[in-house]
Structure formats: structure tokens, C-alpha cells
């Protein structure tokens, strides 16, 4: 018998083992839901899949009686728009700050300590400040994502920039480059794939901030909806919404990964060596 650490499941076995926990959870849910439904047909806690389907059917494919919108899609669009705007701005700010502080000592000296302190502020704690300053509209929600995510990206990029071997910078100088040219041709291209992985890592927190902001002050959005229907204990809406959010998060992560592999093949093959 080999040691446990040397036992590797074959590929089909790995796939099967990977699916197993999902199937188990589903199965347990089905049984539990069935049991509760049998006892009380109007049970709200563990709705059957048919009930969830009905709920989403009416939200996604029938116009709302009050506004005439298709609520599910409108929620999705508003949330994704906020997320994209917030992440986009955060990535832009984080990337510029990270590269500049990482590459240029005279910018690093005044900005790096400030950046460290700012990144330690819990963003949720200043949400009230954002509401006061920016009002309850879109800006404060986007700003929360930016404030929550940009310092992380900036520090991540800063560290990666500093990890570029000194040899490369010296070599570039012996090829006659200016600081600007080094930034443009050596550092920025090498940091772009890092930016993508940094964005992927911080998407999870971005969702957190988005849903929190929507829960507190909003009139639409995925986070708004689940917190709204909580009052009616509508698990038949909440559970599909959570699954949908999870799926969107997965999809975004996957798309970014594909984008990175497509645009920066040298980065991924280098890393896998």
C-alpha cells in the first residue's frame, strides 16, 4: 500500500469525486425539502425546486405588475453594471498606483505608507460616510467597491512590480531606455496579467461590498432583491438568486482567466514551469 500522499486518483475518478459532494448536497436538500413539504404544503423554509422555478419564472419572464420590468434581468443588469464600474475604476486606480509606487522610489516614499494605512480601513465602516458624501444613489455603491478593492490591487501590483528582477531593469537601461520607456515597455506589459489575477482575487470582496450596499440603500439589484424578499421568508426567490450570483461570479472568474491565457500566453507558461 502506497502512502496516502502518493495516491493520485485517475482522471475519471477525480471528475467523479469532484461531482460527488454537489450531488450529495442536492440529494440531502431534496429529501429534506420533500419531508417538510409532506408535513406542511405551504412550508417556506425549504421550497421544492418546482416552487423555485415558479418564482423565477414570474420574476424573469413576466413583466412586473407594478413597473412593467422583468425584475430578474433588471436586478442582474444593475448589479453587474455597478460591479463592472466599480472594478473598472478600482483596477485603473490600483494599477497606476501600484506600478508607480513599485517602480519609482520617489513616488514610493510619500505614497506607500499612506496606501498601507488606507488598505487597513474596513470599507464597510466608511459606508455611512459614503452615503453622506455621495448620497444614496449609484455613486456611493460604486465608490464602496472602489474603496474596498483599489488599495488591495494597488498593493498587489506594487509588490509584483518590485519583484521584477533587477537584472531586467538594468538590462533595459543598457539598451538605452528612459524611465518612461521602462514603464511603458517593460513593467506595464508584465504587470497586466498580474492585474487580471489581482482582479480575480478581489472579485469576491467586490461582490460582498456590492450586495451589502444594495441591501442597505437601493431600489434594484440582486442584493436588494434578496434582502427585500427576506421579509416574506421567500426562500424560493433567495435560493435561486444566490445560485445565480454564484454562477455569475464563477462566469466572471472564468472569463478573466480565459482572457489572461489568451492575451498573455508567456505569463501562464512561465508560471507553470
Amino acid at each position: 500500500m502506497k502512502r496516502l500522499i502518493n495516491l493520485t486518483p485517475s482522471k475519471p475518478a477525480r471528475v467523479l469525486l469532484g461531482i460527488l459532494p454537489f450531488a450529495l448536497i442536492l440529494l440531502v436538500y431534496l429529501f429534506a425539502s420533500d419531508a417538510r413539504q409532506a408535513e406542511n404544503a405551504s412550508d417556506k423554509l425549504l421550497p421544492a425546486f418546482s416552487q423555485m422555478g415558479d418564482a423565477i419564472q414570474s420574476l424573469a419572464f413576466e413583466p412586473s405588475k407594478r413597473t412593467g420590468d422583468y425584475l430578474f434581468w433588471q436586478d442582474t443588469m444593475s448589479s453587474l453594471q455597478r460591479l463592472a464600474l466599480g472594478m473598472g475604476i478600482a483596477a485603473l486606480i490600483g494599477f497606476s498606483l501600484g506600478i508607480l509606487t513599485g517602480a519609482i522610489p520617489t513616488i514610493h516614499a510619500p505614497l506607500a505608507p499612506l496606501l498601507t494605512v488606507i488598505s487597513l480601513i474596513p470599507p464597510m465602516a466608511i459606508l455611512p460616510v459614503l452615503f453622506i458624501v455621495f448620497g444614496l444613489g449609484e455613486i456611493s455603491k460604486v465608490a464602496l467597491i472602489v474603496i474596498g478593492v483599489a488599495p488591495f490591487i494597488a498593493r498587489d501590483i506594487q509588490r509584483s512590480t518590485q519583484e521584477i528582477p533587477l537584472e531586467q531593469l538594468v538590462k533595459a537601461q543598457t539598451l538605452g531606455s528612459s524611465s518612461w520607456q521602462i514603464l511603458l515597455r517593460v513593467l506595464i506589459p508584465q504587470m497586466l496579467p498580474r492585474l487580471i489575477s489581482s482582479v480575480r482575487l478581489s472579485l469576491c470582496t467586490a461582490w460582498l461590498f456590492l450586495i451589502a450596499a444594495e441591501a442597505i440603500a437601493s431600489t434594484d439589484g440582486l442584493g436588494y432583491r434578496i434582502f427585500l424578499v427576506r421579509r416574506y421568508m421567500s426562500m424560493d426567490v433567495i435560493l435561486p438568486y444566490v445560485a445565480w450570483i454564484t454562477f455569475l461570479a464563477f462566469l466572471l472568474d472564468w472569463l478573466l482567466d480565459r482572457l489572461s491565457k489568451r492575451c498573455f500566453p508567456w505569463h501562464h507558461q512561465e508560471a507553470s514551469k
Binding site: P165, E167, Q168, V170, K171, A172, Q173, T174, L175, G176, S177, S178, W180, Q181, L184, R185, V186, P189, Q190, F264, P265, W266, H267, Q269, E270, K273
Partner: protein, 275 residues
């Protein structure tokens, strides 16, 4: 009047705090020489290379390039090939080589387009041909072997025609067979481009084979209580004739004997050097 030597060290010292690395270096190098530098690790040969590169300033004394103090930061007058990390991983072979021309001709974008780009690409392709990388011209560095990467690093360093080429153990990580190929390449380029080469190496036979002049770095004075109190200097400055193989056997014996004698403890590093 004698022409000014290309590189001149006048009573050159290098200290890091109390740690004296180099002391009282006085040396002259004329254009076209091929200097190989050997010595145990920590004996200052790499420090001297860094000073030639402009990465480290002299602590006292002067290091002159054509009679003027050497510029305090690296520039295109001195090319460099390191043991690793010398090429840019995000650029293909061709892009790596034309980069220097792009830096030169496109101040703002650092990138050339259209006819200007094709011109430098043609120039780069000729250089790539000389170092034997033509089949790999569109590959990325991670797809190249160690030897190919070093060929690329050399081509990249040469496109702006530096007068001085600095090599910091460039072949240390290569297999012996490939290393022999690289030696031929370096000698060929040294002649074609009329370079002055400074090369740090751990391999004594390599030093003898390639150089026109071999420097052995070591400490002349030692204080057992304070090993950092005295710095190293060039203890042997051996001219090597191009019609080689007459001297090497004999001189190499002297140098090896000397190195063995002068060391209190044989480090693995040194074993490597002597083997």
C-alpha cells in the same frame, strides 16, 4: 602621446560600511581587450563589474571611461548579459532584439510601426542570424533552452553596438557542450563587433580560453580577526596570447597553486573553480 585607455582604475576602493571589498585597484584596459575575471566568491569581481556598469559608485579613487568618470547609471555604452533574467519574458525573440532600437528611435512610445519597424526588424534578423536563433525568431523566451536564451541576451545587448560588453557568468548554468558553442559565438562577435569584453567566470579554463587577459581577484592582506578589514585586488594580471595552448598548462598550474595556497579553507565554491 599614448591614446587614453578605454577603462582606467586609479587607486579605486569599494567599501560597504566596514567591509572593504576592493582596495587600491590600479589598472588600465585598452579597447579590444577581452578580460576574464576569476576568483573566489566575495572577492569583488562582481562588484567591479557592477561598478563598470554604473550600478555601484566607487567609494574612493576613480574609475574612468575614456578619461572621464564612468556614468553613474547603466546606459547604452555598456551592454550586459547576466546569468539569468537577461531577456524580457513578455517579448518574442525578435521583439526582444528590436527593443533597443525602439527605445532609441521612439522616445515617447518606445514602439515602432510600419516602415521604421520593418527596417529595424531586418537589422535585428541579421543579428539573430549571427547568433543562430533564426528558427526561433517568433518564440517567447520560456520556449527557449538556457543556451538559446543566452544567445538572445547577447544579440539583444549588441544591437545598439556598445563598445563594452559585460558578461556576468553568462554560461555558468549551461551544459558543457553548449558552453563550447557559446565560446565560439562570443569570440566571433568579439572580433566582428570590435568589442571590449569583461567577463566574470567561475571556470578557470574558460577564462584562459576566451580572454586576452586573465585577472585573478584575491586579497593580498588578511586579518584573521577581521576578515572584512582588507579588500581584494587583482593579484594576477596574466596576458594570454591568442596562439594559445602554449602558456595555459603552465600558468594555470601557477594560478591553481596560488589559489589553493592562499585559501585558508577550501570552500565548495573554490572546489568548483579548481575542478
Amino acid at each position: 602621446m599614448k591614446p587614453t585607455p578605454l577603462i582606467q582604475a586609479k587607486n579605486l576602493w569599494k567599501r560597504y560600511g566596514d567591509n572593504v571589498v576592493l582596495e587600491r585597484m590600479n589598472v588600465q584596459v585598452n579597447a579590444g581587450e577581452f578580460i576574464t575575471m576569476v576568483g573566489t566568491s566575495g572577492c569583488g569581481k562582481s562588484t567591479f563589474l557592477k561598478m563598470l556598469l554604473g550600478m555601484e559608485p566607487p567609494s574612493s579613487g576613480e574609475l574612468l571611461l575614456e578619461g572621464k568618470p564612468i556614468p553613474a547609471e547603466p546606459d547604452q555604452s555598456r551592454g550586459i548579459v547576466f546569468q539569468q533574467y537577461s531577456v524580457f519574458p513578455h517579448l518574442t525573440v525578435l521583439q526582444n532584439v528590436i527593443l533597443a532600437r525602439e527605445f532609441e528611435r521612439s522616445r515617447f512610445l518606445g514602439k515602432l510601426f510600419g516602415a521604421a519597424r520593418r527596417r529595424v526588424e531586418d537589422e535585428a534578423k541579421r543579428l539573430i542570424e549571427t547568433v543562430g536563433l533564426t528558427p526561433a525568431v517568433h518564440r517567447y523566451p520560456h520556449e527557449l533552452s538556457g543556451g538559446m536564451k543566452q544567445r538572445l541576451a547577447i544579440a539583444q545587448a549588441l544591437i545598439r553596438q556598445p563598445r563594452i560588453l559585460l558578461l556576468d557568468e553568462p554560461f555558468g548554468a549551461l551544459d558543457p557542450g553548449i558552453r563550447a558553442d557559446m565560446h565560439q559565438l562570443v569570440l566571433k562577435l568579439w572580433e566582428e563587433h570590435q568589442l571590449t569584453v569583461f567577463m566574470v567566470t567561475h571556470d578557470l579554463s574558460e577564462g584562459f580560453y576566451l580572454g586576452t587577459r586573465l585577472w585573478v581577484f584575491d586579497k593580498l592582506r588578511r586579518d584573521q580577526q577581521a576578515p572584512t578589514a582588507y579588500g581584494a585586488n587583482i593579484t594576477y594580471d596574466l596576458p594570454i596570447t591568442r596562439q594559445k595552448i602554449i602558456a595555459p598548462q603552465e600558468t594555470s598550474a601557477i594560478v591553481e597553486h596560488y589559489l589553493r595556497d592562499s585559501q585558508d579553507k577550501a570552500t565548495t565554491e573554490q572546489e568548483l573553480l579548481l575542478s
